[in-house]
Amino acid sequence: MTSGNDQAERRWITRRAALLGLAAGSVVFSAPEAARAEDEWGKLVAAARNEGHVVLYSAFVGLAAHQNLKKDLEATYGITVDILEARASEVRERIRIEQAAGRFAVDVSENGRTTTTLQIEQDHVFDPHGMLPSAGRLKAEFRADDIRVPVFAIVYGILANTRLVKPDDEPKSWLDLADPRWKGKILSDDFRALGGGGVLFYVLEDHYGRDVLEKLAKQDLKFSREIPANERRIARGEYPLYVPVSLTSVPELKGLPVKFLAPREGLPFIGYDLALLKNAPNPNAARLLMEYCIGQKMQQAYANLGLLPVTADPLSGVDPAVAELGKSKLLGTTDPARMDQLLALARQIYP
């Protein structure tokens, strides 16, 4: 007869044995799996090298990191990268009409989440990108699906003129913008249009409801679409506050009397996605480019510009001020399905 302790010990041994067995088994089975994946990726890289060329259509006009991408891919893999930049709707329409006309000239699309989602649902211009080794390192809020690969995000805060806004008066919350002291003193990107203004409107409505937006309407916001000019207007002292300002402006405005404020609730953001085009002439080079963009080097390049990296990789050498702001909580982004409805609401509240 065995004692209860013996039985318990045996059960424990049995469980341990089972766990060890499972672990050993998974190692035994996953090792060839990983090796096979590595092997497949190696073949893809070789095929990409053979293609030697890749074309990217980007909706981020003038993104300096595109130059890094061109140089790096050519230096590392001997692949030349052609990048065509235009505004989001222009890139979308070019891709759509090219696909409809059977002109397959582009391999990868880089566009905001809203536009990319509409392209998936309405234009049907993408193919699944397949396995990408770095996809597992994406942050939880930037998960890839079989079509979209998040690549970076633009985060938005408040820009204040440091000569006109004392530190104690700085808005600490998005709700502070409704304070009567700021009436007639806020310059704003247009809430009724896609972009920073649209995403801020969406997120505020999502979190606080319509009331807050109606209070803001009473603040006599001055809408202006010329974002680079708007930032300079704040620096010159035309208005004390500008909403929403992209974190990418911080490095460019260094030396001017302005400050980026991150409200405590967090920052709205617009995610950018990469997607592989149907009938891409260089599909392997396209996938290699997508992988490279979520790799550490390009994520570092994005972070240096004030864009939010989408992977959890540790980054070094980023401007401390930008890095600190980049750690701010994310408040939310738009849902493509509701975006047009919200833009209509914005036109109603801000006629």
Partner: protein, 636 residues
């Protein structure tokens, strides 16, 4: 001594009466059954003179002139088929350049989805246009355009008269300088005026407050006034360029005759001078008015913050700021505007039809200038004031700003040449510059040739189909550029793959020709309207071939307008963005796309460096052009 056929043509021709409804020689010419009879009936003296001259020095192997004339005229009579073929060719070219992209857009306006997508035909787009809100917006747009066109026209006429017809000092230099605002990218002048005229910290308001001790800010560019003022800075030099040569090409004997009959200077100016340049004047005003309707930058920059909405910003929003883009609505609105603008153009045609605006006849003339006495310094001061306000103030801001790290922050420690180094060291800039120069030179030349031919047929002949090609050439001007760019994209992309246009530099070239043709046709039409039909007929009667007549008479006399049109089209190409951004491909980037990238990225100072380069180019072009015009006029 033998007189050349040009000399015969130029000296044998009486000046025509002006502004009369009497049919001209050419009208009679076309109405009669026989060209030979016409030549003999209309120009018996010239024909006789020509015959005698020809008989005196007849080249060996040449047929006698009379026989040659008959043969030539027979050939002309027998070329109806070739004329029809020529017109048909023009119809095909213009159909491809204007009707084809417009038909794509028409499809877009009548279909629930853009070309290449499954959908249904419906009128939803047009139904969406018909709202009270859109009507108010349309009236707002028309009001703004009218409010900027009339004062601009008055100032442009005044400037043109001062600089072409008076002895105002330094008018050669002033003529170049007053046109400069037109060639500066609007976004730059908008930024400069934003710094000068904002109500909070604008330099002009600060100056006023310093001078008066008041705390008021009388200037606010973010208003209707700001939108109109910014537009005027472009429409004044634009209209000036279109009408100044009409003033210059005017035979002063007509004004002298009025003065001798007792008319005052003002009455002469009003009833003779202005009437004679009515084609140029009305064309310039209509072109400018239409451009005002389609203007985008001024309302976006100065209107949006003041809650001012116009039709173009609405179209832009419907394409670029809706999710998904509403192409059906945008194209439908554009066609409604197009129909309204077409009515205005037809009205102009009705106004001008049957009237004679000939000022350049075979009778020799010298464009004399009016002696203003001491008043010439007043006119000089007016031009300098205009130059100071529209050029020195904004361009001065750009020039100073380009040497500092940031616009508007003029501190010693921010002085830098970094922006110049960045621009001149950028391979992308040089590639864009090279492509733009190539496209500008080729595009402007081809556009002016096409416009010249269309205008000639439209104004100088009674050929069947001339109205059609004139309308076809006009159409692209009436379609807002943002939408027309989409029409080119759809049209070129859907061409058969065997036609290698899409994705090449040819797509840009063709789009530029299409966009520039209305302007070139108007410029050349105004110039041709001023030329007496007799000169051309006399040249032909005296033995010159059609090509010789074109080269030595029509082109020689109309070429100053050709040169002005060329410069306008060239710089139009340099600034064009709406079609460029949709049609450029990797390697064929153009300057406007490079500017867009720099601007979007917050490099306003680098954009102004490029803007200043463009101003230098303009000064160079205009200086050469005016030198050549002066040299040519002295030989006329």
């Amino acid at each position: 001594m033998e007189r050349s056929w040009q000399e015969k043509a130029e000296c044998a021709n009486p000046a025509r009466s002006f502004a009369s409804a009497k049919p001209t020689g050419a009208e009679k010419f076309c109405a009669r059954p026989s060209l030979i009879e016409l030549a003999e009936n209309l120009y018996p003296q010239q024909v006789n003179m020509a015959i005698s001259a020809d008989e005196r020095v007849e080249d060996p192997g040449r047929v006698p002139f009379a026989a040659g004339l008959r043969a030539r005229l027979r050939v002309l009579e027998g070329t109806a088929a070739s004329r029809t073929a020529g017109v048909a060719l023009l119809v095909v070219i213009l159909a491809f350049l204007s009707i084809y992209p417009l038909s794509m857009l028409l499809y877009g306006s009548l279909h629930s989805t853009p070309p290449g997508m499954a959908g249904v035909f419906n009128l939803d787009g047009y139904q969406a246009v018909l709202t009270r809100q859109n009507l108010v917006m349309l009236l707002n747009t028309v009001g703004i355009s009218l409010a900027k066109t009339f004062p601009s026209l008055v100032i442009a006429v005044l400037l043109a008269w001062i600089l072409a017809r008076t002895d105002t000092p330094f008018r050669g230099a002033l003529e170049v300088l007053v046109t400069l605002p037109f060639f500066i990218p609007p976004i730059l002048t908008a930024m400069a005026w934003g710094m000068l005229g904002n109500p909070q910290v604008g330099l002009l308001n600060q100056l006023y407050q310093w001078a008066t001790g008041s705390s008021n800010s009388p200037i606010n560019v973010y208003s209707y006034g700001g939108v109109i003022w910014h537009m005027m800075q472009y429409s004044i030099p634009f209209m000036f360029l279109l009408i100044v040569d009409a003033f210059r090409a005017m035979d002063p004997s007509l004004e002298e005759a009025a003065r001798m009959c007792g008319a005052s200077r003002w009455r002469t100016f009003r009833t003779v001078t202005l009437l004679l340049i009515l084609p140029a004047l009305s064309s310039a005003a209509i072109l400018s008015f239409i451009r005002g309707i389609e203007n985008f930058e001024s309302p976006l920059f100065f209107g949006s913050p003041a809650g001012i909405r116009v039709i173009t910003t609405d179209i832009y929003d419907s394409i670029n700021q809706r999710s998904p883009p509403q192409y059906q609505y945008a194209t439908a609105v554009s066609f409604v505007i197009m129909a309204l603008l077409l009515l205005i153009v037809l009205l102009q045609w009705k106004l001008l039809r049957g009237r004679n605006f000939t000022t350049v006849s075979g009778k020799g003339y010298s464009p004399t200038v009016m002696k203003l006495g001491k008043w010439r310094w007043a006119t000089f001061a007016f031009c300098v004031l205009f130059f100071a306000v529209t050029v020195v103030l904004p361009v001065g801001q750009l020039l100073i700003g380009s040497f500092f790290k940031f616009f508007g922050f003029y501190q010693w420690d921010m002085l830098t040449l970094e922006h110049y180094r960045a621009v001149f060291g950028s391979s992308e800039f040089w590639r864009g510059f090279g492509n733009t120069m190539l496209l500008g030179l080729a595009g402007a030349s081809l556009t002016m040739v096409l416009g010249g031919v269309v205008a000639y047929i439209s104004v100088r002949t009674k050929w069947r189909g001339r109205m059609l090609i004139d309308v076809m050439a006009w159409l692209p001007w009436m379609m807002p550029g943002i939408v027309l760019g989409v029409g080119f994209l759809w049209g070129f992309a859907l061409l058969p793959h065997a036609i290698p246009i899409y994705g090449t530099i040819w797509a840009l070239l063709l789009a530029y020709i299409s966009l520039g043709t209305p302007l070139s046709v108007q410029v050349m039409s105004s110039a041709y309207s001023q030329l007496s039909y007799d000169i051309e007929e006399c040249s032909r009667v005296h033995g010159a071939s059609w090509l010789q007549t074109m080269r030595h008479i029509m082109i020689a006399l109309a070429w100053p307008s050709f040169a002005v049109g060329w410069v306008l089209v060239f710089f139009g190409i340099m600034r064009e963005l709406s079609a460029s951004v949709l049609l450029y491909s990797v390697g064929s980037e153009v300057l406007s796309v490079v500017l867009l990238k720099l601007w979007t990225n917050g490099n306003a100072e680098q954009v102004s460096v490029i803007g200043l380069m463009m101003i230098v180019l303009v000064v160079l072009f205009r200086w050469v052009q005016l030198k050549v015009i002066k040299a040519r006029i002295s030989t006329l």
